[in-house]
């Protein structure tokens, strides 16, 4: 009683609520600043790579760093003068074709595992995941010997096959969880209308699952574009991919920091652009089987 009397304005707000809300607001602003600092800290090495790539070799190798040095695109000009195009085209071929193959194979497998489940489907899913857990390096030697035997060494189609196999398990897992979201009633209606599998796929499943398919494709593309161990061992002059080129580029040219940074930036750009453009799908895709 005395409390209500002592409050001059007589507002109806219950006393404990107000201070808590105020505290939360101020804390939120501080945490927002913290988030900005963390974001800048993580981005900084990438920014530094781009920044260094835009300097002359002399300005790039100063200690302490010279932040006012004039910018130049010499690093990029020199990188492209070494003719990286065959390597970039190889990487693009291996990544795009293997991603397309993975998506098609995983889409049908996901259908069999999620929509019209085969028996023991969770064992099949488990099998796919275990293949991913076997260290790929343990299969490298036989792949090398077989490829040598059938004349596929230093051939980009070998990389297409291997990258397809490398990404397929994760893609099946992801596709399974995306297709599990497709409402059964729609499929039953389609079946009653007499639609066959290709029609159901194209007209019903694809439109509903397309964000998931895009996420799967993006992740497979990133991993294929980034792969180096297999490419290093199994390709050479003709079929070398961009990451392999990047390492050889460094060892044969000695160290030119600005040029190396230009090369690293140029090779990362396709993935950076794709990833930034589709970051919402990336979030969705990476949470794959757990989203339930």
């Amino acid at each position: 009683m005395t409390q209500t009397l002592s409050a001059p304005t007589g507002t109806a707000v219950p006393p404990p609520a107000r201070p808590r809300r105020v505290r939360r607001g101020r804390g939120g602003a501080v945490l927002g600043v913290v988030a900005w600092i963390v974001g800048i800290a993580f981005f900084f090495p990438v920014a530094w790579m781009v920044f260094t790539s835009l300097h002359s070799e002399q300005a790039a190798a100063t200690n302490p760093p010279d932040l006012t040095a004039p910018l130049t695109t010499d690093g990029y000009r020199e990188f492209f003068a070494t003719n990286p195009w065959p390597y970039l085209i190889n990487s693009a071929t291996a990544s795009v074709v293997s991603t397309a193959l993975v998506v098609v194979l995983a889409l049908f497998a996901g259908y069999a595992l999620a929509i019209r489940p085969v028996r023991k489907w969770s064992d099949v899913l488990f099998f796919f995941l275990t293949t991913k857990m076997l260290p790929a390096v343990a299969g490298l030697l036989p792949v090398y010997l077989i490829a040598q035997h059938i004349g596929l060494l230093d051939n980009i189609w070998l990389m297409v096959i291997l990258y397809t196999a490398m990404n397929l398990p994760i893609a099946v897992w992801m596709m399974h969880s995306f297709l599990a979201e497709v409402p059964v009633a729609i499929l039953e209606a389609a079946a009653l209308d007499g639609a066959r599998l290709p029609t159901v796929m194209r007209r019903v499943i694809l439109p509903i699952a397309s964000p998931g398919i895009a996420a799967t494709a993006l992740i497979c593309f990133i991993f294929a574009w980034n792969e180096m161990l297999f490419a290093r061992v199994l390709t050479g002059v003709v079929a070398g991919t961009a990451p392999v080129f990047l390492t050889s580029f460094v060892t044969t040219q000695g160290l030119f920091l600005a040029k190396v940074c230009a090369a690293a930036t140029a090779i990362s750009i396709p993935v950076l652009v794709a990833g930034f453009a589709a970051q919402n799908k990336l979030v969705q895709g990476l949470s794959l089987g757990a989203v339930k």
């Binding site: 939120g28 602003a29 945490l31 988030a35 900005w36 963390v38 974001g39 993580f42 090495p45 990438v46 530094w48 790579m49 790039a60 190798a61 200690n63 760093p65 194979l105 995983a106 049908f108 497998a109 069999a112 595992l113 019209r116 489940p117 085969v118 099949v124 796919f128 275990t130 293949t131 857990m133 076997l134 260290p135 390096v137 343990a138 299969g139 490298l140 030697l141 792949v143 010997l145 096959i161 397929l168 398990p169 574009w225 180096m228 161990l229 061992v233 990451p243 990047l246 190396v260 993935v271 950076l272 990833g275 970051q279 990336l282 979030v283 969705q284 794959l288 089987g289 757990a290 989203v291």
Partner: protein, 308 residues
């Protein structure tokens, strides 16, 4: 729910067979492809692991029984690379998972420019790993003109300490660069987890007077369990097999040679096919034990899947 299938046409035998194949058919291409490309090489690895086969001495090929295995297990270098692999994987996964969780919690709140901050945070995951390793080795760690020592000179003047990061702390250098690359990956998974929490439950908890800490412990953390497991699982899969960072930053020197690097060397430089294969088989057996234990016993990922 989704396991409810279309009613099978009972009775008519040929139609039932057809229905069975309609189910299996779509799965077969992926399954066959995976078996042929991933399982057959492992079978071959197993066979080669029992032979004496060094490509430098082609005449001396023969059956080695368990010779390669005893050689590999008795090799201190390989045993140390097993330890290195475990340390590298566990530290990178744990640190990036914890950091990723903290950052995901930060990004789960509304603040000005949240989308920009998230975009900046994703960048390390999108840089090609070899490029990232080169960036860390040359542009950041380099003792003469690397950014880290440059900053030290900038702050403390010309007399500042100029550590040689990679030779002074090789493992720490490799782990730091990998944590930088993988934290965004963990953050993305956990952020998806945070955003899939039911707002009604959170609101109800707040109305009941639960503090931020209580909400985190009793609602957020249990909800995130699957996402944490998924992040740890995928992180382990990819970091156990890491080759790029070790190869580029230290070239396997200074005690940072992990299993993929050691096997690569045994096979690619020493040309000892038999021994490389035996090492590969041992790695596979180890991974299988850990993976089966993790997935079947500890993890809730597959259980949840099976319940559906």
């Amino acid at each position: 729910m989704t396991t409810v299938s279309l009613p099978a046409p009972a009775g008519v035998r040929p139609r039932r067979v057809a229905a069975r194949w309609a189910r299996r058919g779509p799965l077969l291409p992926a399954l066959l492809f995976t078996i042929v490309v991933t399982q057959l090489p492992f079978a071959a690895t197993l066979v080669i692991s029992f032979t004496d086969w060094n490509a430098l001495y082609p005449d001396r090929r023969g059956f080695a029984a368990f010779g390669n295995y005893t050689a590999v297990l008795g090799d201190p270098q390989l045993r140390s690379s097993i330890l290195t692999t475990v340390i590298l994987t566990v530290s990178v996964v744990l640190v990036s998972l914890v950091l990723g969780l903290a950052i995901a919690l930060l990004l789960d709140r509304r603040f000005h420019g949240r989308a920009i901050v998230r975009t900046m945070l994703i960048a390390p995951f999108l840089v090609v790993p070899v490029a990232a390793a080169l960036l860390w080795k040359h542009a950041l760690y380099n003792p003469e003109y690397g950014l880290f020592n440059g900053i030290l000179t900038g702050i403390f003047g010309p007399g500042a300490a100029q550590p040689d990061w990679i030779s002074d702390a090789p493992m720490f250098s490799v782990v730091s660069s990998l944590v930088w690359q993988w934290t965004p990956f963990m953050m993305l998974i956990l952020l998806a987890g945070l955003q899939s929490r039911s707002p009604e439950v959170l609101e109800a908890a707040r109305v009941d007077g639960a503090g931020a800490l209580a909400v985190f412990r009793h609602i957020t953390l249990p909800h995130l369990r699957q996402y944490l497991e998924l992040g740890a699982l995928l992180g382990c899969i990819y970091i156990v097999q890491n080759f790029d960072a070790v190869f580029t930053i230290t070239a396997g020197g200074l005690g940072t040679a992990n299993l993929p690097y050691t096997i690569y060397q045994t096979f690619y430089q020493a040309h000892d096919y038999g021994r490389a294969s035996a090492a590969g088989v041992i790695v596979v057996i180890g991974s299988m034990i850990v993976a089966t234990f993790a997935l079947r016993v500890v993890s809730s990922l597959l259980k949840q899947e099976a319940d559906r």
